[in-house]
């Protein structure tokens, strides 16, 4: 008798992989970047499906396929989630303390830098005629 296709394994694995790669999309919105709940939700759904698939494969192997590839896919999925968690809960927190950064009440160090058009812009230029300046240091576009 031909055994049945164990779809939860395939779909669950696909959802876990989607959970990893969709970070590139979710990172664009502060609500899904500050805490990556959307990715974790996908991982959760994927894991639940994989568990269902494995229960089918090992519980009723005469009906369902997937003992071997189900185990392999689940192992890869675990690695994917581990890799993501390492990046999102450890790597992103390795930020220098910046204990020497200007504090509230201190004068901000002066500077003159080139803007995107190659024109020099000084802190004095930004301050003149303004009621405040928001300096946003960013990592760069990559």
């Amino acid at each position: 008798m031909k055994r049945r296709w164990n779809w939860p394994i395939w779909v669950g694995f696909a959802v876990v992989v989607a959970g990893l790669f969709s970070y590139g999309f979710f990172v664009r919105f502060p609500t899904t970047r500050d805490f990556p709940w959307a990715n974790l939700l996908l991982f959760g759904i994927g894991a639940a499906l994989l568990i269902v698939g494995l229960f089918r494969a090992f519980g009723r192997p005469q009906v369902y396929r997937g003992k071997v590839f189900g185990s392999i896919f689940t192992a890869i999925a675990v690695l994917v989630v581990a890799f993501f968690s390492y990046g999102i809960f450890y790597v992103v927190r390795q930020v220098p303390a910046s204990s020497g950064a200007p504090r509230v009440g201190q004068k901000a160090p002066d500077f003159i830098l080139l803007d995107q058009n190659g024109k020099p812009v000084g802190l004095g230029d930004l301050l003149s005629g303004s009621r405040g300046v928001a300096l946003i240091f960013y990592r760069g576009f990559w």
Binding site: R93, S99, R103, D115, Y138, F141
Partner: protein
């Protein structure tokens, strides 16, 4: 910075200038601000001189282990004095425009 661009009118209405600073060269900043529709200036600090002076350097964190800026936000008053600062402990969590606007509004209400 996308969110700062979205709420730029609120900064402009208060007379606050928004400016980005990174190690990116002006050409990259120009290309990206055109692509992303940024209308506030992006300043280029390729040798991280200013970034170092503000102690917001993240050594070796860039592509090919280049030194880059860590995310950090400062709100200065019209005299150039720091009035609010945000030094995140997680590079994925940066200041939102409403935090900066809120800090500014608060300073206004206490009359500086």
């Amino acid at each position: 910075m996308r969110s700062f661009q979205q709420r730029l009118p609120e900064f402009e209405a208060r007379g606050i200038r928004v400016v980005g600073i990174s190690v990116e060269p002006p050409a990259t900043n120009q290309r990206q601000s055109q692509k992303l529709g940024y209308t506030f200036p992006l300043l280029s600090d390729p040798n991280a001189k200013v970034i170092r002076r503000y102690d917001v350097l993240h050594p070796g964190a860039g592509p090919k282990s280049a030194d880059i800026a860590r995310p950090a936000e400062f709100l200065l008053d019209s005299n150039g004095v720091v009035r609010w600062v945000n030094l995140t402990e997680n590079i994925a969590v940066r200041a939102r425009p409403e935090q900066v606007l809120g800090a500014f509004n608060e300073l206004q209400s206490v009359g500086q």
